[in-house]
Every structure is written in C-alpha cells, then in structure tokens.
C-alpha cells in the first residue's frame, strides 16, 4: 500500500515532463538522423560541419561564450571575495544590489545597453562631445556588444555563486593558517583559492552554458551577427527549415550536457576537501 502511495504522488510530475518535455526533446534529436522527407533540404551533420557559414557562427558563439566566462570569473572573483568579507549588514546590502539585476527582465537589461552603446548612444555622444572621436564607434550589433550584454547578464550569477562558496569556508581555517605563520597573500593563494576552485568551475559552467545558449541578448545586441541560438530561431520561424533547426537544437543539447558532465567531474576532482 505504502509503495503505491509514494509513486502515485510523483507520477503526475513524471508523466507531465515525459509527455511535454522528454518525448519532444528525444524525438527532435532522433529526427535529426533521418533525412527530411520535405525533399529540398539535404542538411545533415556531415554537410553542416563543412559549411563555412555555420562554422563561422559556431566559432563566434564559442568565442563569445568563452570570453564572457573568463571576464565574469576575473571580475566576479575579487568582487565576491570583497562581499564575503563584509559585515553581515553590508553584505546583505551588496547581495541585494547583485540579485536585483539578476531578477530583472533580460529584455530590459539588453535594452539598457542599446541606449548606452548605440550609434547615438551615451558612449558615442560623450566621446564625440569631448572630441576624442569624429565618427561614432560601431559597438552595437557586433560580437563585442553581445559580450558586454552577456557579462552584464551573468556577472550577478557568478558573484552570488562565489559568495556562497566563500561563505562555506570556515573562518577557523583562515585563522589557523594565519596563526601558523601564513602571510595574508599566502592564506589567500594556499587556502582560499584552492577551496574556491570547485565554485569557480561550477560558476564557469553556468556562465558558459548560459552564454552559449542565450537568445535575448544576442537577438537585441548582435544585430545581423548571428550566434547558434539566433540561427536556430531564424531557421525555425523565418526560414521554416525545421530539420536544420532540430540539428542546431541537438548540437546545443549535446554541448550543454558534455560541458556540464566534464565540469562536474572536474569540480569533484579539484575539490581539496576530498
């Protein structure tokens, strides 16, 4: 009796996600291995990876995601370190200021950058006003604009993840290291940093996967510069090439799962507590 009861509670959720998520996703991936009956289209994985237009977009997407991840880590780490060492009250204020943009609509956040780096935006107005440049800089609708937008999108996530990790480091550990003669720099590099490595790896996965698959930011700030997600959308909605869109979807899922699996293994391996 008890056995049925517990499965009964979980059944609606499992059925719901199976019918409305697992089956659609599974069928979409399977369909990519069969040629499209709608004749005209002959795209498959082999031809796709020889197509220079696709390879260029794939490369741009990877480059943008990697650069975004690195910038988020480099900026986020010291910021999180500073926040984690603040008094409880100050820490709460800074965390609230970090979480607020995280919860704000991505459309709003991308739009704010259009106002700043647009052709007639603040940056250009200011630079031309002082006379540093004569012609407006073309920042909006370039990969650089997408990177700026993505860093703005994912930096809050990076910071709060790292603050969480740093808070879990017992202060006794730092006191012990210091009392045993470690310098301030020594405590940081020999104790704090190694303990943060798993957090950095996990934060890194979140930012990389998020940037690799983000749609709103490249759609608004990238202009004609496509990335995988905007290419998928274009194929699905504008070109009506669902076979191609399915292939792109499958590539995104596979990359996401490979990255997450590898990084999880790596995070476990690098964890000095093990």
């Amino acid at each position: 009796m008890r056995n049925y009861y517990k499965y009964l509670l979980i059944l609606p959720g499992v059925l719901f996600l199976t019918i409305f998520m697992l089956v659609p996703i599974g069928m979409t991936i399977i369909s990519t291995f069969f040629p499209n009956e709608a004749a005209a289209d002959t795209s498959n994985y082999a031809s796709l990876f020889r197509d220079s237009y696709f390879l260029e977009i794939l490369w741009t997407t990877l480059r943008v995601s990697i650069v975004t991840t690195i910038i988020c880590m480099v900026i986020g780490f010291p910021t999180a370190y500073f926040i984690a060492r603040m008094s409880a009250k100050m820490k709460a204020v800074l965390l609230i200021l970090t979480i607020f943009p995280l919860l704000t609509s991505p459309v709003v956040r991308s739009f704010s950058w259009m106002v700043i780096i647009g052709r007639n935006g603040l940056v250009n107005e200011a630079l031309m006003g002082i006379g540093i440049i004569q012609e407006p800089l073309e920042i909006l609708y370039t990969p650089t604009a997408v990177i700026i937008g993505l860093v703005h999108l994912f930096l809050p996530l990076t910071i709060i993840t790292l603050v969480g990790v740093m808070e879990s480091i017992e202060s006794d550990l730092l006191t012990a290291a210091a009392s045993l003669g470690a310098s301030r720099v020594g405590v940081f590099t020999k104790v704090v940093l190694p303990l943060c490595v798993p957090g950095l790896v996990i934060g890194g996965i979140l930012v990389f996967v998020g940037s690799f698959t983000a749609y709103t930011t490249p759609a608004l700030l990238g202009g004609q510069q496509r990335v995988l997600s905007t290419l998928l959308y274009q194929n699905a909605n504008t070109l009506n090439d669902w076979h191609m869109a399915s292939i792109l979807a499958a590539i995104m899922i596979v990359v996401t799962f490979i990255v997450i699996t590898c990084m999880n293994l790596l995070a476990n391996k690098l964890n000095p507590r093990r």
């Binding site: 959720g13 010291p78 709460a92 607020f100 709003v108 998928l232 959308y233």
Partner: protein
Amino acid sequence: MREKHIGLGIFTFLVFVFLLGPLVIISVTSFEQGTVLRFPPESFSLEWYKNIFEVSGFLETFKVSIYLSLAGNLLALLIGIPAAYALNRFDFKGKALLEGIFVSPIIIPGIVLGFTFLRFFITYYQLPIYAGLFIGHTVIMLPFIIRVVSSSLANFDFSIEEAAVSLGASRIGTFFKVVLPNIKSGIIAGVLIAFLESFNNVDISVFMTGPGVSTLPIEMLTYVQNYFDPTIAALSVVLMVITALFMFFVERLLGLSYFTKR
C-alpha cells in the same frame, strides 16, 4: 592590509556601477519629454508612462503574461508539491534519476525547449497557441517550485507528521493540517520566483506567438527592434518596480541565502 581593502573596495564599487548604471540610466531617461533617449534628460515629463497605455499591445500582453504566470504556477504547484513531498519523504529506486528529470527544464537550453514545444505542442499535439504557452511555462516553472518546496521540506521534522498519524489523523488530513502550514512560506516564495521566471521568459514565448497572441517580453522585444523611444524605458521602470517588490517578499520569506546557495 588596510590599503589592499581600499583597492578591492574601489574595484567592487566599479563593478556595481557596471551592474546598476545601465538600469539607473534607463530609469532617468524614461522621464525625458522628447522623442529621443537622452542622458541626462533635458526636461521632465511622464508622457512616456502614459504612452505605455497607448501602445495597443503592451496592456494586452501584460495581462496575458500575468494570467500565464498565474495559471502555470497553479498547475506547477499541483504537480510540484506532491512530487517534492515524495522526493523528500520517501526513499525509492531511481530517486536520483527522478530528481534529475525534475531539474532538467533548467539545464536544457531555453531556446531548445521553445523550439521543441513549438514543434510538438502546436504541430504534433495540435494544441492551441495559448495552451502551448501555458504548458511550456508550466514546464519551466516546475523546477523552481520543486526546488524551493524541497528546501522547506528538508527543514521539516517528519516525526511530527508521524505523531499526527499515530494519533489517528488521516494521511491526507495530516498533510493539509500539519505539513502544508509548515512549508507555507516556502510555497509562497516558490510561487514568486516561478512567477518572475515565467513573466520574464523570452526563449519559450518567442516561438509561440501568432496573430494576436503574444506576451509582454515578446511585445517589448519586437517594439525595441522597430522603434527607439523612451516608452520601453518607462515600461522597464514599471517592471523593475515589480521585480523589486517580488525580491523584497522572497527575501522576507526565505532570506538571502536562497540566492547564494547552489
């Protein structure tokens, strides 16, 4: 030792300028009177706030987004609370796999979910667009409900439940009278978080708009791609106020630790 902190402090300050500056700038430009976004604004007016109501799509899709979030939340609660309860209360075979399935809507890229929903819900299952939007939004809300409710249940002492049952209360009665009141704040916080997740969603909704069917973020996205006036800035301010209120309540219910724990 002190000086090092000052350097780091300045660095952190600049990071916050980067994070919040753009939001402050659009808030300020929303009060500009002219048709061009200017900073600092040269005049003050609430004209663009009025314009939010005059652009036909915004009010309409605002309602759609709210209904969608509420309806999706309701279904996600009905499915999610029993699942979260079972996952925390009992041990069974394949538990890790089930937990994996329940968080997978967060891991699978949103744009991929959106496309497969379009392909299957609308074309294959022949659902109307609104039904597709409703189910799609429920899928992405479910993990947030399950996560927040699970963390509330993790703090709940199930021996209280056993005591009620051994004193003769029915299992279902015990759930509603003993368990549910104890995880109430977790449920409310879960609803708020899931609401924002759905209300701000672009990746799924963008595939399921049709003639006369759209959500607020999609309407804004289309507007921004075609026009460039302070209406969107004004609307952004309205959304930021809503976000701030939601955040305030979540903080009250769960504390900031909800956000920092992974």
